[in-house]
């Protein structure tokens, strides 16, 4: 069973909640799919057993010994990546999308495509099972392909080790990396917060989850920061026929646990928030799809 934890808005508490889920019972496979801001390894300090290279597309590079300044590449490029500076063709690494077109049409064969091979995927063991996380090199395109690679590895480790539950900690937003995180999973947990921004992003996140016909559960984190907005979110969920999994209070212990490198349920299983997370987790995994 693959369970994805996502949220449209960042900073709602996705990773802290995923970390708690991962340490509640038995062995799990934990996959950090927030590949351009992976954090869970900080709590779990996994023992890395395997490191794999991820090719994040290509970049065009000019060989000036061959370039005749014909500007054909500049005319064909649709990403505004090629310009003429001081009578020299210059390719902007930031704007280049790696489509290969310039390298194909260049009459002098002066353009070479170089693979972006600085991103990595790590997998190994942590105290509650297996863990996988990606590390996108700075500024690389987060196309969701690295997320797919992380998920494939998670499935492989789940089968090899007989760990049936895979927890995917997703990225914020609703774009490609999020879509890659949720396609085909068993259940999606959406973490929101009672803010105007939180509610607005929740609606867009539910939109993307429904587009893929997935079963969604909502958690309102820090619900006591704004009771009236929490009530509004609950009302909206009810009207939209989405299951509320539960509400969690604002608790400074979340940060304290993080500082100590623990999930909140490891840090103190007896406090209110930890007990509530356990109830929510049981509700999510036990409900039949």
């Amino acid at each position: 069973m693959e369970i994805a934890v996502i949220s449209g808005k960042g900073g709602t508490g996705k990773s802290s909640i995923s970390a708690a889920f991962a340490t509640l019972n038995g062995d799990v496979v934990l996959a950090d799919c927030d590949v351009d801001a992976a954090n869970l390894y900080l709590l779990f300090d996994p023992f890395v057993e395997e490191e794999e290279v991820y090719i994040a597309g290509h970049k065009a590079v000019i060989d000036y010994s061959k370039c005749t300044n014909c500007k054909m590449c500049k005319d064909y490029c649709r990403f505004d990546a090629i310009s003429l500076k001081n009578d020299k063709i210059v390719i902007s690494e930031i704007s280049c999308d790696g489509c290969f077109l310039c390298s194909r049409i260049c009459p002098e064969n002066a353009i070479r495509m170089v693979a972006n091979d600085k991103s990595r995927m790590y997998s190994g063991s942590f105290r509650n099972g297996k863990m996988i996380y990606g590390r996108l090199a700075p500024g690389e395109e987060n196309s969701g392909k690295l997320v797919n690679m992380v998920r494939l590895k998670a499935k492989q480790l789940s089968e090899e080790n007989g760990m049936n539950i895979i927890i995917l900690d997703g990225p914020p937003g609703i774009g490609c990396p999020v879509i890659s995180t949720i396609t085909g999973v068993s259940k999606v947990v959406i973490v929101t917060e009672p803010t105007i921004s939180g509610l607005d992003d929740l609606k867009r996140t539910v939109g993307i989850v429904q587009k893929f016909n997935l079963l969604a559960y909502i958690i309102i984190n820090k619900y006591d920061l704004n009771f009236s907005l929490s009530a509004q979110i609950k009302k909206w969920c009810k009207e939209s026929n989405i299951t509320m999994a539960g509400e969690l209070p604002f608790d400074k212990n979340i940060v304290e646990a993080m500082v100590q490198g623990k999930s909140i349920t490891e840090f103190n299983p007896e406090i209110n928030i930890s007990k509530k997370i356990k109830i929510i987790w049981n509700k999510i995994i036990n409900q039949k799809t």
Partner: protein
């Protein structure tokens, strides 16, 4: 044409980690500068989850659709040579020559135009598809707030973000860009079009880890930047130690305050009632102008 307008200063407000207070800083900075009669515009570049508009009494004064082109293949003319499929680096063209099947998977298309160049039989034309919108809002009678918003299901927000930044009118001296979270493409595109980047972080291990990624990224693209620590007092001292060690400028520390969190949750601008906060943001701005700006005022 895509170069930053030289006499306007663009400041991007960004953070690797989500929810550190990017929008909190950018909306309040925008408000504080407007109140001092600066000619300032704001662009909400978080096209996957745009929120800035909710903090202002505003009115829509314009909307443009952002589109990309996708190929349309006429299978009556197509010779099923497979060249378009070979040229497409995004696997957006599916072809089965023996069955005479050729299909475009529009979601995967990046609008690079390679297939049209590849096709020698004139079977490929192009049509526009919508990616999202750029909406212009008027705040206090001035059309100064632009919002980039992608349609649900669109893969990359980059095209819509670029379109929104292009639409900043030249009546403004300052533009605040509220950046998307993360350190990949959408963030880089936003940061690359700015003259200076304010990184907002929180003093937690997650905050620090993501801050390091953002710093590394900004260094590779050579952008000047400084850091605001939000919710100071929560967490630990490691962000501060990192800034000192790396010699990174700390622009401001904002202590954690539950009342601020409640005001924010209701979509209220803290600087409206809190003069001190407003003044602090203004001095952050003046500090940036002094050290990196092109005296635009």
């Amino acid at each position: 044409m895509n170069q930053p307008v030289s006499d306007m200063i663009k400041i991007a407000v960004a953070s690797g980690k989500g929810g550190t207070g990017k929008t909190y800083i950018s909306t309040n900075l925008f408000y504080s500068l407007s109140k001092k009669n600066y000619r300032v515009a704001m662009v909400d570049c978080d096209a996957e989850a745009p929120n800035a508009v909710a903090f202002f009494e505003s009115e829509i004064v314009g909307k443009t659709e952002v589109t990309q082109k996708v190929p349309v293949i006429n299978s009556d003319i197509c010779t099923f040579c497979g060249k378009c499929h070979e040229y497409c680096n995004y696997n957006a063209i599916f072809i089965l020559p023996p069955m005479k099947i050729v299909k475009v998977i529009e979601d995967l298309c990046h609008d690079c135009g390679a297939c049209s160049v590849a096709c020698k039989s004139g079977a490929i034309s192009e049509k526009p598809v919508s990616l999202g919108q750029v909406t212009t809002f008027s705040v206090k009678g001035k059309p100064s707030l632009l919002e980039a918003r992608i349609n649900i299901g669109v893969m990359s927000p980059v095209t819509v973000i670029k379109a929104a930044i292009k639409q900043i009118d030249n009546q403004s001296d300052i533009a605040i860009l509220d950046s998307p979270p993360g350190t990949s493409c959408p963030f880089v595109q936003t940061a690359a079009s700015a003259d200076y980047v304010i990184l907002v972080t929180e003093p937690t291990p997650f905050g620090l880890s993501d801050l390091k990624q953002s710093v590394e990224t900004l260094k590779t693209i050579n952008k000047p930047f400084g850091v605001i620590i939000n919710r100071a007092g929560l967490g630990n001292n490691s962000v501060m130690e990192y800034l000192t060690h790396e010699n990174i400028q700390l622009l401001l520390e904002i202590p954690f305050n539950k009342e601020i969190a409640v005001l924010y949750s209701n979509g209220r601008l803290v600087s409206e009632t809190n003069e001190i906060f407003s003044e602090q943001l203004l001095s952050v701005f003046e500090n940036i102008i002094e050290n990196h700006g092109n005296s635009s005022n």
